[in-house]
């Protein structure tokens, strides 16, 4: 049972489920140049070689992702939810070579296209979960697979989630079957600064490098509130003010590190400064190349974190969990910080007590950028349902959420939070062909993903066992669907 009602006792879920609220009383300060948010349509870091700014000129653990060759696919007679403002009844979508070619009421099929009859079906962009611990807290959930929290120091900006990620995590095919095509795999929330995230195409692979989303910005996991101060109670930080001092000390060092390197890169006087992995990650945050993904629950604490960002001139891309974000939705919208929230989780700790089901809707109403995340190997399998719940909770409370807004909560908005919104997250010509065919309205409890195309590759087909990838772990010990043991 997920919550082991008759079984297990409480385990501090530092996978992440753990965060701040004083409504800011002053207008947002003008962001410093380094804090400038990349424009939503800006291409990701492919064009921004790490060599330009970081300490080394060599490629670091580069992506070896390659698109799987596929014939063109035309899905027709389906309801197409573009996540770009349109819901097209009886529409069609054509993709070829991993790119969406055309979306509309009538699309001509090239002679070599595979034609999929979408009558009665719905089509959406591939779903994106910007908060997952797949691969770093892999099933079967033993100590040996517990690789998500380097809980040995409150600041571990030097660790990278990709170096923990296990591509054979049997939870991966389950998430694929739920229509997920891209994830951000994050370190846990034990630390003030937990390390770099991995932005991954959710595909079967032997190595994490094969899954790395080409050119994606890294995220930096940070955490406020109960978790870090609880984990480090005996050595500190043991208070929220201690947490704050910890972030500030780290970024003060990072500012100096960045200055040393910037100066050396300019004048090449003497030996290059000593390389420091921890400060390298933080300096990249200051340069705007790594996006801060911040676990935070309470509204007052989020306001503190935005002031921290102002102090050091960076931008927080998303507050994760953000259970109280509805209390400062106006402030978050003004600061252009997205909120990655659950539909209805609450009460598992004090900072999660004020959860309301209208959180996403209230942020939408305030002009913010809400998105639904999972933080759960179970929840990631039904992000569509969670968006459906959150949309309807808003509508029932009188907040006019549109279906397009709600589908963006699990597609275009998480794409923005990862800096990938020019590449994925909508069904528009030129976007990567991450496409899901649903058995019915994706906001219905009864609908399931029938087909999942990742970069044009038919990765999952509910009606065809040949397109139901299984991990090595499952072979010979986890019965395949439809089989007996």
């Amino acid at each position: 049972m997920r919550h082991a009602m008759l079984g297990v006792l409480f385990i501090a879920v530092l996978g992440c489920a753990s965060g701040g609220a004083r409504p800011a009383q002053r207008p947002a300060p003008a962001p410093s140049p380094a804090a400038a948010t990349p424009a939503p349509s800006q291409a990701p870091a492919q064009t921004r070689a790490s060599a330009e700014s970081s300490s080394v000129d060599r490629a670091q653990y580069p992506s070896t992702y390659q698109r799987h060759p596929n014939p063109p696919v035309l899905i027709r007679n389906a309801t197409i939810m573009t996540a770009a403002g349109q819901e097209i009844p009886n529409g069609s979508i054509l993709f070829r070579d991993g790119r969406i070619v055309a979306v509309g009421a009538t699309v001509q099929a090239p002679p070599d296209a595979l034609v999929v009859d979408g009558t009665g079906k719905f089509v959406t962009p591939g779903l994106i979960d910007d908060h997952s611990h797949l691969g770093v807290y892999a099933a079967p959930g033993t100590e040996a697979e517990s690789d998500g929290n380097e809980a040995t120091n409150p600041v571990t900006a030097e660790v990278w989630a990709e170096h923990s990620f296990w591509p054979q995590d049997p939870q991966i095919p389950l998430a694929i079957a739920g229509g997920i095509t891209t994830i951000q795999a994050l370190p846990g929330s034990a630390n003030l600064i937990g390390g770099r995230s991995a932005i991954l195409k959710l595909i079967p692979a032997r190595t994490v490098q094969e899954m790395k989303f080409p050119g994606a910005h890294y995220g930096l996991k940070m955490a406020c509130g109960e978790n870090p101060k609880g984990v480090y109670r005996s050595r500190g930080p043991s208070t929220r003010m201690g947490n704050m001092a910890g972030y500030r000390s780290a970024f003060i060092q990072a500012e100096q590190y960045r200055q040393r390197w910037d100066k050396w890169r300019k004048d090449h006087q003497g030996d290059p400064p000593a390389r420091d992995l921890r400060l390298e990650s933080l300096a990249e945050v200051l340069r705007g190349n790594i996006f801060v993904q911040m676990h935070c629950y309470r509204a007052d604490e989020m306001a503190q974190m935005m002031d921290l960002a102002h102090e050091f001139g960076f931008h927080i891309r998303s507050f994760h969990h953000a259970v109280e974000s509805y209390k400062i939705a106006d402030l978050l919208a003004r600061e252009n910080v997205s909120v990655s929230v659950w539909a209805d989780w609450w009460g598992f700790k004090e900072e999660a007590m004020d959860g309301v089901q209208q959180n996403a809707a209230l942020n939408q109403q305030a002009g913010g950028r809400p998105l639904i995340h999972s933080d759960s190997p179970s929840g990631i399998q039904r992000l569509n349902q969670e968006a459906g719940k959150a949309m309807n909770a808003g509508i029932r409370a009188g907040i006019p959420i549109t279906r397009d807004q709600a589908i963006r909560w699990v597609t275009a908005n998480p794409a923005w939070a990862l800096g990938l919104d020019s590449i994925v997250g909508t069904l528009e010509p030129g976007k990567m062909a991450d496409v899901v065919v649903w058995s019915g309205d994706p906001f219905s409890v009864y609908s399931k993903a029938l087909q999942v195309y990742n970069d044009g590759w038919l990765l999952y087909d509910r009606n065809d066992p040949k397109h139901q990838p299984r991990t090595d772990f499952e072979l010979g010990q986890v019965p395949a669907p439809g089989t007996d043991r």
């Binding site: 009602m5 099933a139 409370a397 009864y446 007996d484 043991r485």
Partner: protein, 402 residues
Amino acid sequence: MIAFLLAQTIAITGGTVYPVSGPKLEHATVLIQNGRVAAVGPNVTIPADATRIDATGKWVTPGFIDGGTQMGLVEISRVGGTREMYLQGDTIAASFNVAEGINPASTLIPVTRMEGITTVLAAPQGHLISGQAVLIDLDGATIEQMLVKSPIGVVANFDENAKDEGGGSRAGVAERLRRVFNDALEYARRRADYNRGAMQPLSASAADLEALLPVLRGQLPLIAVANRRSDIETVLRFGREFRLKVILAGAQEGWEIAEAIARAGVPVLVEPLDNIPSYDALGVRYENAAVLARAGVKVALLETDTHNARNLRQQAGNAVSYGMTWEQALRAVTLSPAEVFGVADRYGALDVGKVANVVVWSGDPFEFSTGVEHVIIRGREVPLRSRQTELFERYKTLPPKY
């Protein structure tokens, strides 16, 4: 006898009524008097003093029952001072009845009932034998007013989590439980010797052994938590060996031996959205509830996240997606749990004489687009308010209203 508060006369008219005990009734009336269902059908005479609820176009069902919670026993999971479901230091906690730990003022109760869950099992956790679970209605100012039945059963753990107190082996868990059961029987046979101090020490306290006797006489169910197929088989073996009335809980690999469970006549509490493999159940899968039901097992569905017991609706909808019929799923959150917990004479269906726990929904209760319009518990309409609705009202426009 349960307590009825401020019982009203209420007539819910014109809705599509799902009595669960029989086929659905279109344009039917549910009449509620003195806390009970007084009449159900298309031609019901409505007393002049009745409060009328127009349910035209709405769906009317019995209140849902979640058999998998710690409702009232936990306020904030991580705050020890608000947790009451675990008895420290007692491996065999059979005499531990959770009832007096229940907090009728828990904020979880309004959050849950306003979404159509009217009755829940409040269960103890941990150890080899966790204690006694009780059934409560989600209304009432006192524990006595909330209780439906106490105890419902004694919770025993046969899963991986029990191993620490079973000497580190599943076989150790079985051996220790068997020894306790045999000691309880011995204690019952030789009570006089026990009281004289003329017996070797037994493996549990007299109070715990005493509490096991109704279970060993088949009067009170053993709620047995097991997930791995072999552990489920161990539970079935115990059932035969001691002639127990068993309720299987968890049962993640139950689908693999559905026929054996059906033959044993053992009902099962299942959480439909369980499917993350662990070494306790590598075969866990979404189809579990449907396969068990198809084999003839009585299935009650759970949502085990106490704070989100309201998501029992979503659990049921997903059970339908993965093979249960809609009718089976509705029964599995109403009449089947009432039967499993031994209260079907009073709960689980809209039959004349039954306790009036009734919900009016805007549509299919399992769908996200459906809202709850009225909740009646023991014949009293409860307000659709909670701490969460108050927070929403405060912050729905910013700046907030203090």
